[in-house]
């Protein structure tokens, strides 16, 4: 049995009782990375020496009682880490080896002393649903390496699934934590918009981006969110709302819980296997004393178009900062200043990033702003109102995280719209701003994980965790481990 088969809480106890050392944990993490990462490609940057040094330092500490103390973790590569290379999986930032400060979430983790072993692969600038848009070797799914791990936090999900780290941080703009969590059979939480500080998260779409944890169990996830959540004066869009002790919400009791199941989330396009798993999950909830009813989120079908107009518009503005002047890779072919901007950006950005910058620039350009950008902002209001209405009457909304299990590498790369449809069940949650989690709820015939999405009310992550935890404890799906199948 691997040390990584224990939960974070169990490992904290083992460290506290001197049964194991932090060095044992970090060595085990690196042993697994060396064993599997040549196939999985979850990591972009590793620093074994620094991690071992930190481990030995922590082993000397008298007080080992901290939450997450000594636990090996990975950080998505769009979260800035002082002195540790941060590339956003873009060749444009290939040489950004010495960031000057930590993101607030990294400082908050550091205060509790987990050990960051490295930086995790992703779709370039978080734009993608399969990790195939990484500027480096794309991450593969640990359950079957012929399949994608999902995206954009594909490295974050795969590293946890493959037992390389105990937890990771990801970011979610339209499903980028929940969709890869579903594909890799792990737990991924997108908190309420504003719950976690984005200071030091390289911005993609600022009205949607949110940082959250990926873990193997719901309890582990709640422990990490407790540490990283909260108001931050460095992020004016972080909300000044108290952070409850999420782990205390994990009572196992969902008697009387009122569940809404949107009929649009089980409609055409959602595979039979996924529908069946969700229906089975609802039976589990019934057996635990919860009730569910079918409801409607009537504007769901407009979410995808709304999202691509808004997120690309915001991205086109946010990514204007990459110009080759102060950091990043500068083109060597430029004759003058303007030429340097154009050539650095054209050589540095990958195809999907350019496509979104172009779409966003178009939607914001003179003559089209009202027809596309403003129209999408208005439809966003209608989508948000749908959620507000349902969440007045129900405690949580439950449905699938993705329409299908993980697809094959290369299967959806030829047409951008086909790829975008993957996020159709996660995108509305970002547009509304409410919290959502994906937890394992079954496996396909091929042996690939299926994710259950649980959505809650604003700042009510506690109820989402309570519902997720009760299901998890009543089932065995989270205990299965990937075997790195597929052709090598």
């Amino acid at each position: 049995m691997s040390l990584f088969d224990y939960t974070i809480k169990e490992l904290e106890a083992k460290l506290h009782n001197h049964e194991i050392t932090v060095e044992d944990l970090v060595k085990e993490s690196y042993a697994q990375i060396k064993k599997v990462d040549g196939d999985v490609h979850a990591f972009l940057t590793l620093d074994e020496e620094k991690a071992l040094e930190k481990a030995r330092e922590l082993d000397k500490c008298e007080d080992k009682s901290g939450i997450l103390f000594g636990i090996p973790a990975g950080i998505k590569d769009n979260i800035v880490t002082k002195g540790l290379r941060t590339t956003c999986a873009s060749q444009f930032l290939d040489n950004f080896t010495d960031p000057l400060y930590n993101a607030t979430v990294v400082d908050k983790l550091d205060a509790e002393n987990p050990v960051a072993v490295g930086k995790l692969n992703m779709d370039e600038f978080a734009m993608g649903s399969s990790n195939e848009n990484s500027g480096y070797e794309p991450t593969r799914n640990p359950w079957n390496i012929d399949h994608v791990p999902g995206g954009s936090s594909g490295g974050s999900a795969a590293a946890v699934a493959a037992g390389e780290v105990l937890f990771s941080l990801g970011s979610d703009t339209g499903g980028s934590i929940r969709q890869p969590a579903a594909f890799c059979g792990v737990v991924g939480m997108k908190p309420t918009y504003g719950r976690v500080s984005r200071f030091g998260l390289v911005a993609f779409a600022s009205s949607l981006d949110q940082i959250g944890p990926l873990t193997r169990t719901v309890e582990d996830n709640a422990r990490v969110l407790e540490v990283i959540a909260g108001h931050d004066k460095m992020d004016s869009t972080s909300a000044d709302v108290d952070v409850p002790a999420y782990t205390e919400a994990l009572t196992g009791d969902v008697k009387g819980l009122k569940i809404a199941v949107p009929k649009e989330y089980l409609a055409e396009g959602v595979s039979e296997e996924v529908k069946n798993s969700v229906m089975e999950a609802l039976k589990v909830y019934e057996s635990l004393g919860a009730t569910w009813e079918e409801v409607s989120l009537p504007h769901s079908k407009y979410a995808l178009a709304t999202y691509y107009l808004l997120s690309s518009s915001e991205a086109s503005a946010n990514l204007a900062r990459f110009d080759g002047v102060r950091y990043g890779v500068r083109s060597e072919n430029a004759k003058n200043m303007l030429d340097m901007f154009v050539k650095s950006r054209s050589e540095g950005f990958g195809d999907e990033v350019k496509r979104r910058i172009m779409l966003g620039t178009f939607a914001l350009s003179s003559g089209y702003y009202d027809a596309y950008y403003k129209k999408a902002q208005k439809v966003r209001t209608l989508i948000k109102n749908d959620f507000d209405k349902i969440l007045e009457e129900y405690d949580v909304i439950v449905g699938p995280t993705t329409p299908t299990p993980a697809f094959k590498v290369g299967e959806k790369t030829s047409d951008p719209l086909t790829m975008y449809v993957n996020d159709i069940l996660t995108i509305p949650v970002n547009l509304a701003g409410v919290p959502g989690i994906s937890i394992p709820c079954g496996f396909s015939e091929e042996g690939l994980p299926i994710g259950l999405q649980i959505i809650g009310n604003y700042f009510d992550e506690s109820t989402v965790y309570r519902a997720a935890h009760a299901f998890e404890q009543a089932t065995e799906h989270h205990k299965k481990r990937p075997q790195l199948g597929g052709a090598k």
């Binding site: 040489n95 950004f96 010495d98 000057l100 918009y193 504003g194 600022s206 009205s207 004016s236 869009t237 504007h299 079908k301 407009y302 995808l304 178009a305 709304t306 691509y308 107009l309 204007a320 110009d323 002047v325 102060r326 950091y327 990043g328 890779v329 500068r330 430029a334 004759k335 003058n336 200043m337 303007l338 030429d339 340097m340 154009v342 050539k343 950006r345 054209s346 950005f349 350019k354 496509r355 910058i357 172009m358 779409l359 620039t361 178009f362 350009s365 027809a371 596309y372 129209k375 999408a376 902002q377 208005k378 439809v379 966003r380 209001t381 209608l382 948000k384 951008p416 719209l417 701003g433």
Partner: protein, 96 residues
Amino acid sequence: MAEISKEQVKHVANLARLEFDDEAVEQMANELSAIIEYAEQLNELDTENVKPTTHVLDLKNVMRKDEPKKWITQEEALKNAPDQKDGQILVPSILE
């Protein structure tokens, strides 16, 4: 308006400080046209009296005191610069 022309792609590329060769311009025109055509479905909805949502939190004008603070040194600021001279970031000339 669902067809984006090659001229429009070149105009938008200039705004975005990007450049594409002829083949890529044509491909971009096709891809953007398909995405915009898909987005036209939003016009099925009457949004005449709907307020736009810029973001979902009830936050307005978050202010702070404008106080100078130590942040990074000049040396640090130059650490990741592609080119530098005399303590400043060096860029190509604006005019050729």
